[in-house]
Amino acid sequence: MATNIELAHATASATLAPKPTAAGVAMRFVRTKPLGAAGAVIILGMLALAVFAELLAPYDPYVGDYGLQFARPSAEHWFGTDEFGRDVLSRIMYGARIALFVGFFASFIGCTLGALLGVVSAFWGGTVDLLLERLMDILLAFPQLILALAIASILGPAVQNVVIAISIPVIPRVARVVRAAAMSVKENVYVEAVQALGASRRRVILQHIIPNVTAPYIIMVTAQLGAAILAEAALSYLGLGAAEPTPSWGLMLSGSAPSYAEKAPWIALFPGIAISLGVFGFNLFGDSLRDALDPKLRKG
């Protein structure tokens, strides 16, 4: 059995142990999760494109040159030009903005609302829980893309409408996961203990429940990010997302791109690569993050 002196030493050395720096944590992540690190590099690249699109893009993405329709990829136009003579590379760079904007906002709004409903449902229990659960059941009765399609068709084609259409189907999925996590946290003895000590409901939720459901929340946000970018592309492809002449990746593939496929395959090729690479990055990163945060999947 450890003596008091030993225990005191243990505590002292624990406090003296160097706290891992952000760089240290990042290096460890790169070493243990090389695929996740590759994903992070792709995300950072996409972010840089979106932020510095004005500086990096060689041409105006909205202005076409009718003398240069369907120009092949060349030194002037690396990815060629489209049917209006617009530079495909510049449109892809600006397209990163739309993809990230929709991806971040749709997954953040959907996951946050879902997480809040999940915590409320788990903590209040009773009728509130029952009603919220039935509401979530109803929303879950619709496949994600179908519900998004229905909402987008009513709201009309615009970027902010796409955010709403994609975020609503996310809510019940996250609510379910967070509710389950919050329920198991609620059962812990320490939560019972702080309640017995007279902690207010607000304090219990803010200080004990929310910090403990952050891991599933972060996992869901990263997982939904890629899915949201993909959903935006699909909706835009179907003509329900961003409207012309917005340089959205999905929109660049819709309508004319397949019909000009034989004459100018680059119009359909490069935006598809951009979508796939972006979503691939988010999925790789999210996957490794889940592996790192979920003790069940750790190797050992």
Binding site: F142, P143, A150, G272, I275, L284
Partner: protein, 300 residues
């Protein structure tokens, strides 16, 4: 088991009524004229009366008439259903054939190059939009073989070869994406099972790898995978919507997109409800299968 079935059956009734109400409300948000066109003539007046009349119609399989063709929605849908069912079934079969061996391989060689390769291929399948895979398929067929898939749907029992020619690319397109999800699930559930004590016992008994993995681990990790194949039906529907559009297949998925494009709201309303209905029923069947296999579920 009887009580469990009864409970689950009872639970889907409010869900379906709620789903019908939600679809109805979403469709009511549309600007005036169309709403009047759908509901004005027959019921008019109050929203609850309109909903009642629509819901009574649903119970009698009467979903109203298409604004575009003037024919009953149910008739229009039944014409398109065989194609979508064939596509869905074949894609599911293809996905399972690809996914289970790959997922197994990745799990038993966790963190080896095989695992990384399988993960990259499967995360890729999730990242690449299926409509883009479809566009690429058509591009390749047209550019390299000068061949386009036949336009008219021929049922497999009339001319199996013509049917195969038409369906093979859409099936592979949808199947690959679907396989990506199932591969990941097989990998992670098998990883969890491989860490169980009884697997360690099997190893300690000196059993060969094949016996441990196939007879002990795979069998027990298949339950969540079966559930996934069912619940990811949503993916399938989303896949059908875009894939049928890309390959101009006249199935239910494309019917939804066309109806949205034509603002044919009775059709949109009916199809979205019917898709939700199918989704709920499939989820119910999956749950029942799960409970049948795993007694712990029905006693919870």
């Amino acid at each position: 088991m009887g009580t469990y079935v009864a409970k689950r059956l009872l639970l889907i009734v409010p869900t379906l009524i709620g789903a019908a109400a939600l679809v109805f409300v979403i469709m009511r948000v549309i600007p005036g004229d169309v709403a009047l066109l759908i509901f004005g003539g027959e019921a008019g007046g109050q929203i609850d009366v309109q909903f009642g009349s629509w819901f009574w119609g649903i119970l009698r399989f009467d979903f109203g008439n298409s604004l575009w063709t003037g024919r009953p929605v149910i008739e229009e849908m039944l014409v398109r259903l065989p194609l979508s069912l064939e596509l869905a079934t074949a894609a599911t079969v293809v996905s399972v054939i690809i996914a289970i061996p790959l997922g197994m391989l990745a799990a038993i060689r966790q963190d080896s190059w095989v695992d990384y390769l399988v993960r990259i291929v499967s995360i890729g399948g999730l990242a690449i939009p299926s409509f883009w895979v479809g566009i690429l398929c058509i591009l390749m067929l047209v550019i390299f073989f000068g061949w386009g898939p036949p336009l008219e749907f021929t049922p497999p029992w009339v001319d199996p070869w013509a049917n195969f020619q038409m369906m093979v690319w859409p099936v592979l397109t949808v199947g690959y994406r679907y396989a990506a999800v199932t591969t990941r699930m097989t990998r992670s559930t098998l990883l969890e099972v491989l860490r169980e004590d009884y697997i360690r016992t099997a190893w300690a008994k000196g059993l060969r790898e094949r016996a441990v993995v196939v007879r002990h681990a795979l069998k027990n990790s298949m339950l969540p995978v079966i559930t996934l194949v069912g619940t990811e039906f949503a993916f399938l529907i989303g896949g059908l919507v875009v894939t049928e559009t890309v390959f101009t297949l006249n199935g239910v998925g494309r019917f939804v997109v066309d109806a949205v494009a034509h603002r044919d709201y009775p059709v949109v309303q009916a199809l979205i409800f019917l898709i939700a209905f199918g989704f709920v029923v499939i989820n119910l069947l999956v749950d029942l299968t799960y409970a049948w296999f795993d007694p712990r579920i029905r006693y919870r």
